[in-house]
Symmetry: C2
Subunit: 188 residues, 2 copies
Amino acid sequence: MKYPTGVKKNHQKEVYHGNRGMALEDDINTTNEYYLQNNIAVIHKKPTPITIKKVDYPSRLEAVIREAYFKIPSTTDYNGIYKGKYIDFEAKETRHSYFPLANIHKHQIEHLKKIIKHGGIGFIIVRFSALSETYYLGANELFTFLENSTRKSIPKEYFSEYGHLLKEKYSPRLDYLAIIDKIYFEGE
Amino acid sequence: MKYPTGVKKNHQKEVYHGNRGMALEDDINTTNEYYLQNNIAVIHKKPTPITIKKVDYPSRLEAVIREAYFKIPSTTDYNGIYKGKYIDFEAKETRHSYFPLANIHKHQIEHLKKIIKHGGIGFIIVRFSALSETYYLGANELFTFLENSTRKSIPKEYFSEYGHLLKEKYSPRLDYLAIIDKIYFEGE
């Protein structure tokens, strides 16, 4: 089975915790935990989708998966609720100075389009590791680029111009909801 | 590792497809697929949460999970968006004429409480297999029972009185959004 983009990172998080590629995911999970503990929002990362083929039962109460395969995700990795609004996003890291579109599956783009259509808040969070810069890019700004460009990657400049830089703080680590407040709840 | 309630069903769906215990999950997945295809709502089942311990790489593009364990879910199984509203629910089957509360984890109840607190629509869908009756029970009605009873199970009568019977149709198989329309969007 072909190896879905991003999945390797997901399982490596489990196997070798805290490896460099997982820094963004760790930051977002820490941030979501902060939001949860402080009753700000309920946003979770979805488990990695897998297909289980073989399970052993050493005992009636134990189950060990002995053969399973990674599935290509049909949705984004994160969703939840904030101020009554449905939140949905994907987070990716790249060491390039541009964001390769191969990092996001077509059906994840289609998923984000449906979310926006149904009145949800959709976006992507992209970290340019080599530059230690992390950006929030609204789904509509992502769609605009895809509809008006034939490029296979989004230059970092597009993020700095049409997205929002996410400054890393102590806590919450990556306060992306502050951006959502600015865009959707300003003046409330 | 202790075997989390409900998880066995989840993996069995993958291993022995369509076994009796999975009938409700299949009905809900079919219904959600109908909602998705007809642009009615975007509601997905979350993947079964697992902890991966060992992965083999027969080739650079292949990955086979060789050792993994089921994790107790920290949220409900289903969430998504409908008419701009965040939707969140858990679905369970029982062969008893009552619903054993052991079928729902405490943290899933806590999760549903947070969802309601943040303005989402939360509920449970329970099928009494032996009677072929499936009910929608709003999260608040669930909380009310838990706060006013010391019982370890909810009698079916509570579902018929405070919940809503979900009639099975050809398509959509289990139209639970019709109940949500009645409760939340009547007259819109």
